[in-house]
Subunit: 114 residues, 2 copies
């Protein structure tokens, strides 16, 4: 039995708050996907039909997929730091967090300011 408990493990999540968290998570994910899609559209518009230009689009998507997969981790044990990073990177605003309890919002903002 592991006695270690992270700071985030101390928070409890009600069913209603879990639904709110899922909405926040999906909202940020969709915003990031929209930005990636927009960038790919721009790249296809300016690209020439050469291997270097076409594979540059592939390289960009590979890089973004790795970053997104690393960031969007929906475990409650890490979710507050995920939201903190998304807030810090501009994929979420303070208003998006309104469905969460005050102690969680406070923790998210504290980590964002570090």
């Amino acid at each position: 039995m592991c006695a270690y408990q992270s700071f985030e493990d101390q928070f409890t999540w009600s069913a209603e708050e879990k639904r709110a968290a899922r909405r926040v998570f999906d909202l940020a994910y969709q915003r990031q996907c929209a930005a990636i899609l927009e960038k790919v559209k721009q790249m296809t518009t300016s690209a020439t039909p050469t291997p270097s230009d076409v594979w540059e689009i592939h390289d960009y998507l590979s890089d973004q997929r790795k970053k997104v997969d690393k960031t969007f981790d929906y475990r409650y044990s890490v979710l507050l730091t995920v939201f903190s990073k998304l807030l810090s990177d501009g994929w979420l605003t303070d208003a998006d967090l309104s469905g969460l309890q005050a102690d969680k919002i406070e923790a998210i903002k504290r980590w964002t300011s570090l």
Copy 2:
């Protein structure tokens, strides 16, 4: 010392013919890249900003890159079969091969018809 000699190893390539082969190779590569780029443009136009649509573009490019890397092999020991496949797949026409010697064109067309 390896005594094995493939059918293609029996062909010799003059400097002029090597230049012609390079042009043929690059032409087919550019045509295939243009087709991939066009398909990606279509996908970005119809895509929604969701992970499934965005990563579908990435999956498509990953798949195409593997196929292209496998096909476009510029070694003289395999180049005639490469041209044969490109002719068969529609990335080259008979007219594109005009800079090559008759015996090579004959071999390419024979393999294409198999």
